[in-house]
């Protein structure tokens, strides 16, 4: 990123060419966003370090907890483990070593089965990515659809009812949505399988379970934005020209109302990643959500840390992309 800012136009550069004048601010904007994303990920890693390794608890004791009574453990084993994980070093050194290893793709070794954390995560990641992408698309479609539907009817009462739907859905615990879906579609109608993860039919129910809570937030924002945009002056003007309410919403307001929804992409990715922990447990699907659940159950600190780092990384990348795409969607936004 320092390379990018070096090529950007600084205040001291003399008589920049037209091309550089156009390219400069964009590069600087990208560089700043990129630097911020890197900062967020490193800082998130620092927080995982503080919470997981540095907390009042003793990580060595936790690691040995699963393998037998702590009292019976040979002090030599404790000393070896302490040295192996570098706990005899001061915390800042421990953190820098860990960060250095993480940058090289080494996230440590799982306490549970001794395999590298990166390998364990990489093994289950495709399942979650597949599920996540499908539910993100589904969630946005559903959310914008409901937001649109809530504004279309003429009846004020019907609109009020549709407006109150998303907050209601937002109050449903995610595990209950999954269990209800299983109960109705898998056991009740025998239409779809309840558990497992091969094939498209195994993807449908978990994807819906993850998409529903995501869509609630998007529907709320879209519905409100549409409502505001329908009340805007340009809508009155179109109305006076004799264009129907429906046409104004579909042709003119929708384009404006989708902009606030795009800012929710980053947040939605976060909520889908967190929701995967519950949903994959409910549907007994493989994926890093379930890996997380198992890792926490076994207090497998390196695995938990690796997964959180991955989430922070995904969040940062998605937000970076949103920031970069945003000016293209909304021309009023200028790069700064």
């Amino acid at each position: 990123m320092s390379a990018a800012s070096a090529t950007g136009v600084g205040p001291t550069s003399v008589a920049p060419s037209a091309a550089r004048r156009r390219g400069g601010p964009l590069l600087r904007y990208i560089a700043r966003r990129l630097a911020y994303a890197v900062l967020v990920v490193v800082a998130a890693y620092a927080i995982t370090f503080a919470l997981l390794w540095w907390l009042p608890s003793d990580p060595v004791r936790i690691m040995l907890g699963g393998q037998g009574d702590a009292g019976t453990v040979d002090p030599q084993v404790v000393a070896d483990l302490t040295a192996k994980y570098g706990f005899d070093q001061p915390p800042p050194i421990q953190f820098l070593t860990m960060l250095g290893n993480a940058l090289q793709g080494d996230l440590g070794v799982s306490i549970d089965d001794g395999r590298p954390v990166a390998e364990r995560i990489a093994q289950v990641l495709p399942h979650t990515l597949q599920l996540g992408v499908v539910s993100l698309v589904l969630g946005f479609g559903l959310g914008i659809g409901i937001g649109l539907l809530a504004n279309l009817p003429r009846s004020r009462r019907l609109r009020g009812l549709l407006f109150s739907l998303p907050p209601l859905v937002g109050s449903l615990p995610s595990f209950l949505i999954g269990l209800l879906l299983i109960q109705v579609f898998a056991y009740g109608l025998s239409a779809l399988p309840a558990v497992g993860n091969d094939g498209i039919d195994h993807l449908i129910l978990p994807a819906i379970a993850l998409a529903v809570p995501t869509s609630a937030g998007i529907a709320q924002v879209t519905a409100r934005a549409l409502d505001e945009s329908v009340k805007a002056a340009y809508s009155d003007y179109l109305r006076a020209k004799g264009i129907s309410r429906r046409r104004i919403i579909l042709r003119h307001s929708l384009r404006n109302a989708i902009i606030p929804a795009t800012t929710l992409i980053g947040l939605s990715v976060g909520s889908i990643l967190a929701g995967a922990v519950v949903t994959e447990t409910v549907f007994t699907r493989q994926g890093f959500g379930r890996l997380m659940q198992e890792a926490v159950t076994q207090q497998d600190i390196p695995v938990v840390q690796g997964i959180v780092l991955l989430c922070a990384l995904l969040y940062a990348v998605v937000n970076l992309l949103t920031d970069l795409v945003y000016p293209l969607i909304d021309p009023r936004v200028t790069l700064r």
């Binding site: 967020v40 800082a43 998130a44 927080i47 995982t48 919470l51 997981l52 907390l55 009042p56 608890s57 907050p167 209601l168 109050s171 449903l172 615990p173 995610s174 595990f175 209950l176 269990l179 209800l180 299983i182 109960q183 056991y187 976060g270 909520s271 990643l273 967190a274 929701g275 922990v277 519950v278 447990t281 409910v282 997380m292 659940q293 890792a295 926490v296 159950t297 207090q299 497998d300 600190i301 938990v304 840390q305 997964i307 959180v308 989430c311 922070a312 969040y315 940062a316």
Partner: protein, 301 residues
Amino acid sequence: MSHDVLSPPRPLDPRGHGARRASRGPRQDRAGADAAPRRLLAPTFLISAAFLVLVLLWALVPAWFTSYDPYQSDAAAKLLPPSSTHLLGTDSLGRDSFARLVHGTRTTLLTSLLALTIAFVVSSVLGLLAGYVGGIVDDAIGRVIDVTLAVPGLLVSLMLVTGLGFGAVNIAIAVGVSSIASFTRVMRAQVLRVRQADFVTAAEFGGVRFWTILRRHVFPHAIAPVTALVALEFGAAILAISALSFLGFGAAAPEPEWGSLVASGRDYLAFAWWLTILPGTVVVLVVLAANAVARQIEKVG
């Protein structure tokens, strides 16, 4: 009505009585005073409040509502469907599901309350410092909050549970800490607003001590919107707590708790759906009721 028109709009009162009106103009203030009694009688609010009182009574005196022992298993009454003798049916050990729900209320409510208290206290201190001191303190707190918000709350909670271990108190701490960030944001914004007031400047020039200014002058005025947020977050805390105990990190096995009730019924979903769906529905109803009451507090307050 007439006295409302005659009385001048109340300014920010250094003693704290005017705190809630601080953010509103005089016109809204009058409208609020007029509408308040009618809103309190709104059916949604009444039903929600009544339901919450009922749930509170479950927590305080569970024995009033069920004669069954939540731990007493009955081999002859396994997995019975809901009936007049067993309102929500019985589980795989023949324990009355309604009794377990009612007796589990106390754990769930206390855990949520503890989580909210932790979030509220810590974020009040952080928000006051960030908003009032400003400068490098504000930057430091702000950055940490930004980063914390980059990791979803549930994952922060799970990390804390990994470090602290399992149990009702630990998941309360985990949920509490994970909601500090969003609380602090609101508190900071409020403090920034109050800090501009003349009475704060007057107190500063009058030589009032730093912590006294924060405690007596800034805090009471900044608190109102945060209170509404607390009510709203109560529902969110119950959801987070029940999700964590659903995942198996909450109160230990025989002790009833809402999330673990749902989780333990999961294996029997195919032929005893009531064990999961009915307690789950109660969780939803409590969250909805809490949200309705929160909205009312926001409107009336």
